[in-house]
């Protein structure tokens, strides 16, 4: 399982209710059910992946986070997870607010656009960066709102949500992000993982 998922599983308390937004093939949900005895639900936009989830016995609805979070009442979940898709939404602000309405807490992971390889790519080549975690060309990428770890921290102040815990994933190593190391983490981490609250 991806290190990212292991971190998320560790962040989530046992026997809670979790909604995985963009649950993909259900790998994270399965692990949450198995390791944390969680009541897990998923939303997934791809029909094929919903069918894969069903074949694993997972409760998943086919849908789009921007349209389908609306149907859940306030605080229906203890945690709402959004893995590496914030950058693909038309309006990330609305999505974050919806996540925090539906869930008491949210876990958001973002591919870090501030990573040195991304910066170097643009600096040297002068073309939009293509890396392992960002494999698409500028014209066919689903990612329309890329941000860096620093941007996300800044965003928390702009739209007013609390970052409870922020973790950086660098070469499969996990470390805490704080004010004093933000510059370095923003340069070296491939992924930022944030536990946030209203």
């Amino acid at each position: 399982m991806k290190t990212e998922y292991k971190i998320i599983v560790d962040l989530i308390e046992e026997k809670t209710r979790v909604l995985d937004v963009g649950c993909d093939d259900g790998t994270l949900m399965e692990s949450l059910k198995k390791n944390k005895n969680v009541d897990a639900r998923g939303i997934e936009i791809s029909k094929d992946k919903v069918q894969t989830c069903v074949s694993k016995g997972l409760t998943v609805i086919e849908g789009n986070a921007e349209l389908d979070l609306k149907q859940f009442p306030n605080d229906s979940f203890d945690y709402v997870v959004l893995g590496q898709t914030l950058q693909a939404f038309v309006n990330p602000e609305i999505v974050i607010k919806e996540l925090l309405r539906v869930g008491r807490k949210a876990i958001i992971t973002i591919p870090n656009f501030g990573h040195w390889k991304v910066r170097l790519n643009l600096l040297i080549k002068g073309t939009m960066p293509i890396t392992e975690s960002l494999p698409n060309d500028w014209y066919n990428t689903p990612n329309i709102h890329m941000c860096t770890i620093k941007d996300f921290v800044k965003f928390s102040k702009i739209i007013n949500f609390k970052i409870f815990k922020s973790l950086a994933l660098t070469n499969k190593n996990i470390s805490n992000i704080n004010n004093s190391n933000l510059f370095y983490k923003n340069l070296f981490a491939e992924l930022g993982i944030f536990l946030i609250e209203k």
Partner: protein, 372 residues
């Protein structure tokens, strides 16, 4: 009708108060079963049939000698695996395959009911069928499954009997018949009523049959079960056994001939008055109104696991109407999964060989059965 004497029938002695106010008792409910009930009696699935279906879900229908209406989905190793599950299906009341319906004799007058038969509802249908659980001494069904009108019965069933099923699978259906649904049903009913042979519903006493009207009703309805794309691909403007247009009103086009055929075979197996009664029951179905405008309340008492399935090309019960059920369930934190299956086969997709659908249904049931 002698051929129908071999149909399995449960006589329901318990009085059933219908929504129309009348009470019926000692009435027949025709049913069929497939597979076997296990020791714990916890492997039973109640399948509900659609408008023109019957209890003969799979195998060869002994009356029509054709494949059962859900042969693709139900049988050994199929989506609803009869090696594993005990499948029960009853002919709805109001129907014409042995259950109490308008072609039966009224014991009080010794005349065939015809349109004197009480108007029945989806609620009445499931309240009649729940008696099958007592008959088989089943405390709780593993699942209730059905498409189209069968899906409406699924929703009504779990609403009426929240503890009587562990899983609930409404397919290609709605919680409330739309104006368009009612309009198409009314077209069918008017086609029947305008056939002179219908004689205000007394045709069986007169020894005539409103075949023309019933077949037109079927033709119109059949169009609603298919998609524009499906029709275009299958028929396009292809001509029927001719090289050029004949400049007349024969069936020049294959689609015309196909519809006429569908209409003509339908009248051999279906009763016109049953068509009126069952379409009426569908039109009256409004689970939202039954719960004062809040569909969530219909499901508040159940802990069952739901799985809702719709089809991309179904314009009779479109995805949004199926999704409204999902939304109502999510609003109360119910356990609900949902998928829209990609298919060009229209509303009929659930009856046809649509591998993604059949696989998904199987996966949901089999996984839920293990985890129950």
């Amino acid at each position: 009708m002698n051929i129908k004497e071999n149909i399995k029938t449960l006589v329901i002695k318990k009085p059933l108060k219908l929504d129309c106010g009348k009470t019926i008792n000692n009435f027949p409910l025709a049913y069929e079963t497939y597979g076997s009930l296990n020791k714990n009696k916890d492997n039973a699935i109640l399948v509900f049939h659609a408008l023109t279906g019957d209890q003969f879900v799979t195998g060869i229908n002994p009356i029509t000698k054709k494949d059962g209406w859900w042969s693709y989905a139900v049988g050994p190793n199929k989506s609803i695996d009869t090696n594993k599950y005990f499948v029960i299906c009853a002919n709805v009341i109001g129907g014409c395959m042995g259950s109490f319906g308008p072609s039966h004799k009224n014991p009080d007058t010794n005349k065939i009911y015809g349109t004197d038969f009480p108007v029945i509802t989806i609620n009445d249908m499931v309240n009649a069928q729940v008696n099958l659980l007592d008959h088989f001494e089943i405390k709780k069904l593993f699942s209730v499954v059905g498409g189209s009108m069968g899906g409406m019965q699924v929703l009504q069933f779990i609403s009426n009997y929240p503890d009587k099923a562990s899983t609930v699978v409404p397919i290609a259906c709605t919680s409330s018949h739309s104006a368009q649904n009612i309009a198409f049903n009314e077209l069918g009913r008017q086609a029947i009523a305008s056939d002179h042979n219908w004689s205000d519903g007394k045709y069986l006493s007169n020894n005539t049959l409103p075949d023309k009207g019933l077949s037109v009703a079927r033709m119109a309805a059949h169009i609603t079960y298919l998609s524009k794309k499906g029709l275009q691909e299958k028929f396009g403007r292809k001509l029927q056994e001719r090289d050029a247009l004949k400049f007349g009103f024969d069936a020049d086009f294959q689609i015309e001939s196909y519809l006429r055929y569908q209409g003509s075979v339908f009248v051999d197996r279906f009763d016109a008055n049953s068509y009126l009664y069952i379409t009426r029951a569908m039109d009256y179905f409004d689970l939202v109104k039954q719960f004062d405008g809040n569909l969530s309340n219909a499901f508040k008492k159940t802990k069952a696991k739901f799985f809702v399935i719709s089809f991309t090309s179904d314009w009779l019960y479109p995805t949004q109407e199926n999704k409204d059920i999902v939304i109502a369930l999510n609003a109360i934190g119910a356990d609900v999964g949902f998928v829209e299956i990609k298919s060009d086969k229209g509303h009929d997709s659930f009856l046809l060989d649509v591998p993604d659908f059949l696989k998904t249904l199987k996966n949901f049931l089999d996984k839920s059965y293990i985890e129950r």
